[in-house]
Symmetry: D3
């Protein structure tokens, strides 16, 4: 089994740069895999794909050197195990609000005696080789998303869950929940309260020996997050990158044509 790039980077105390895939297209995944990311997350929560498309994207990341993560739609053993069987090397699970939920998440990710994962790595063994079973429990990476008031209150208990690898901050939902709708959604939060909350989650992770990741909307915020101590920074998803680039290209073209530029 190839070493999991995230674990390798972390063992060298280097942060992982993560990209985000929302379209459901295998070819888009393959393009993104060539742009220098350490890891890419297939977002089956808010992204536009079902399981078959997720599989196509995992296939497209084959042997790319990029560590394939999957964000599952919700805490539920079925999508966690199916993503792992299909070859994901890590899972980001949204809305982990309690220690019990964190334990359930860890349990779904690991074979006995560490958990209850069912054996059947149909594609994982093709993609990662015959050593997959022996290595899987140690190699796959589980991120619990901390993004609600309840989770925030329970963050230490969650971080202390045996077998959990990392916390992952969803700044938009966190702001939405902590602010109870008064703060607009969005990443790259600048409110001092939100920065404090984000760093509080980071501290909880570190205190319990976990790694921490965060979704960022810009390289600048990602660099700040690394400076704060984050171990994985997501920098924008594919659809936003494309939309922004296309919009800029059209706007500039029209301006140049009009002689305004």
């Amino acid at each position: 089994m190839q070493p999991n790039r995230i674990r390798q980077l972390w063992s060298e105390n280097k942060p992982a740069v993560n990209g985000w895939l929302s379209t459901g297209s295998g070819f888009v995944a393959e393009i993104m895999a060539e742009q220098g990311y350490d890891t890419l997350t297939i977002d089956t929560q808010h992204g536009l794909m079902g399981h078959a498309e997720c599989v196509s994207m995992l296939i497209a990341l084959r042997n790319s050197g990029v560590c394939p993560l999957v964000r599952v739609p919700w805490l539920d053993p079925a999508p966690v195990m199916r993503a792992l069987d299909a070859g994901a090397l890590g899972i980001i699970c949204p809305m982990i609000n309690t220690r019990a939920e964190a334990e359930q998440f860890v349990g779904a990710m690991k074979y006995p005696p560490d958990g209850i994962r069912s054996f059947g790595p149909t594609r994982a063994i093709i993609a990662h080789g015959p050593g997959y079973y022996a290595a899987a429990n140690d190699d796959v990476v589980g991120f619990a998303m901390i993004e609600t008031e309840e989770a925030f209150a329970n963050v230490d208990e969650i971080a202390a869950t045996p077998g959990l690898d990392a916390l992952y901050v969803g700044p938009s939902d966190l702001a939405s929940s902590l602010g109870q709708g008064r703060l607009p959604p969005g990443v790259d939060r600048e409110e001092q309260d939100m920065i404090d909350a984000i760093r509080r989650i980071l501290d909880a992770a570190k205190k319990h020996g976990l790694r921490a990741g965060i979704f960022c909307g810009s390289p600048e915020y990602a660099a700040r997050a690394v400076e704060w101590g984050f171990d994985m920074v997501t920098v924008q998803n594919d659809t936003r990158l494309l939309a922004t680039a296309a919009e800029k290209s059209v706007t500039k073209t029209r301006a140049l044509i009009a002689g305004d530029d």
Copy 2:
């Protein structure tokens, strides 16, 4: 954000005519969208599609003026949120049997502080525009299906759930459950007991300021339902419409050829 056609009709006290999509084909959805329905329901419970096909159908309804609803397979936050993120403007949730279930359903449909919906309207914001987040909690429509004995017993409590928009009657399952298997499944019930039960659900909705919808098998029954006070009437699904039309066409052709007609 374009106004949700259902809410617009309801604000004018007009009933919505709803069609039903079971095939999983985007092109079939597009054809149906041209036939005059106010709204179309993509049925991911009994229909033959996964999430990717549901997305294709939502895309096919783009800018058609027809309000896209999705019936989710079961009460579970994941499919509710994924359908909304993909652009559904309303959700029909089967088998809501208790107040607690109704609250869980409403919670999944709304952003904080009204619920726990996670932020990530990946396609919704493309389809419905930048004002989507601000309008979503008020604009999307949630229908709780009342179709079991238990739900029938709890219908007032369910109807009183804050944030719920409508009840929706599934006559077939309702007959199956109330009759405990003695009544055959099927829509357009004519048993007096069933009509009473259906009107009892309608009354509960009205008493609590909710709207009510019902699945009908014919224009005639739909018109009766509107007369009773229903605010949305579904009139047959695409597969039944097609099968009936094709069967009639073949039968008539054979009869004419045989000189029997």
Copy 3:
């Protein structure tokens, strides 16, 4: 190998009732196969499907008793052979305008020494059994569409092509071409000139021992066509059947609700 239902009917001098599939959905094909047609045509010329969807539809017609035909997009050996390899038991080829084109079409349908079909019935042998190769040249049915002025002028030569099974009338294109744009497109032609032209094609077929088919828009016209002597009558495609049925259902519902009906 199961006997080809079209040939069986023809051997009993019975006309075949044909349906038409334009959506690309396997499930729609399966529904249509239950409605009593003798044969169904997957239309890869004007229909909305690529080869993979055509295969899915052929799979959906498996063991249904309905004879699966494919209309290819254009005279070209590749789509003819691929449809046969995928299990089609007959091909309708558009725009056969000359004897040479008819010969090319027949050649693509038959294994040597009758033609140049390449051997590789990958799915045909699964669907139709080990006797497929021995029976194929005699069993598959080839329809040459006569639908242009040039084809009309050459119809006798075309009908005399050895190995050709049938002519097929595309009334819309025929009217368009014979009328050089002065006649609107559409099936079920009532102009005397068009009826004469259609019967002239039928006569050419009969004179050379061929069968003849025609696309009709209604059971009534189909019955007339059978009376004229046509051996296969297509009665409407799935999308038109569905659109018409849905439109009628909505219109009737609205009228009944409005009390107009």
Copy 4:
């Protein structure tokens, strides 16, 4: 409705030979259906398919005479009901650990009054005919997988669940769980403890009048299982069969070329 081949065999006290489908390809399902299996299981737990692919595979098994089973990803009413609506004639449910879970599984499979299955057999009625509803509760077959320590402890209570048809042994997970990670995963267990455990599950099934199935990796083990009394033996999945056959073919080719053979 065609008789369910599994029930037919069991009524004649004959074991059913089951194959296993993991690829998600309808054409692969169709090929497998021609190889002599009594029944084929579409594995949506560890296999590489979503719901749409499962539907395509069910369509591909149409009228093949092979009884189509679906293994659902996890105990959850939604996938159970959706697979049945799409035409599965039996469900294998993983990780049934308690009597309550077994009851929940049975409930999802049966219409009232025997369960809570929602009515909407959209494709089942196309595939299995108009008698489907009347026959379904008696005809569909439910297998509860016994594959954990907890399930093993509760096996008698589970086997006594009214309406449950069969137990199914997943030897790999069972070894993993009973051995708490000390036994490697894999089928065709030869450890005496494991054989005892497997036969203990078989005995529990028989004691309560249930049937029993087991996943085997070879014809030899399957024959032993039948001798022990198992009523359904799965003999390998498609991906393993293909991989093994291809690997052997390449190895032999290289050896013959090298003159080593």
Copy 5:
């Protein structure tokens, strides 16, 4: 029928800004349609899609106001007619090298008496309304690509083809062919010879009353092309826009993390 946006712009003597779709994803097409382009080209020549994906993308552009064009893989009546039937409002045809080829291309785009297009606008009539047939010959736009030495030599004859709407310059192939492999491929040519050749093609178009389009790699070159007189400028495809944006984002993130920026 909605007016074709390209023709509308041209009637006002405004250039059209065109985007380019290579991924085969309907959702990517939908995102691109929101970024301000006047028209988008689905590239079925070099792009990664078959006909079914092309249809999905045309559906995704529905009612977006953006004019959908399709580049066909090669001069062949089948893909031209199928793209039009599926709703394309214009076709870009590669490698038109002679007057005869240009005539064949025009013939495939128009119904009799102007051409030989077969009638069957299955989706076009759904997407563009009942007036489609009457308007189609005048409304759809045909671009002949001039991109070889032979085409360059014949450009005046090609431009004089009755019914042809526009020439389209493929700078990469043109350089490759005119330079016979000595010039590297690539757009935005700066060699004086190439600029002269491009302007020579533009002049031929203008002399014969045609419009002219060109593929550009940057807003700057597009603006120059408009200044030269081009009526449609393509500014980059989706895959390049995405790859560039993602690569920049990763590079900047790494630089900021390393403190190099």
Copy 6:
């Protein structure tokens, strides 16, 4: 650009072992890529896939070390160029019967000045890196299939085509055509005439400095073919390997159960 494994083997005078993919499933392609083949052919002539599925399979072979070939449906520049743009490193073209056809095939495979391939390696450049254009003309491999009487008569002229890399024998069609239907189709021919014909094609290839490949049904025949001098031997396709393995497994299971073995 990674070296093309076929050219590498040939430069070392080693034969390439080729597998054959007929299902259209990316996951099946991925499984096959792990079984030791030097190269795999995606068969878009007799296989069950369209272009999108071919792309998925090419993606699945990404970085596997296995050289991806595509058999196109027929001699036509469009599928040749599309397969190359999607990442195929070689093309097998059926039914090359004359020198002119061979030249047309070579022309479609190479950029000017060696041919007329249009520039747009959308996925090829992602899969094979920035050096793709410079290397492509020398690196991609073109096989002309010799499988008809006419081709056999012209084999020397065909083999002398500049830029052609190899001949490929389709034994089934060759027997069918040379025998004019008197010889049954099938590979691994044992008739002396057929062996002579096959070796005559091999000799023609060698005389003109070309390589030669052949489709075989067994390792034994493949080894003989290598001994004769063939440079690439195909050993069975995936569907036959699977069908045979499954059929054997079922037969053996039934025999063992019946106690016959």
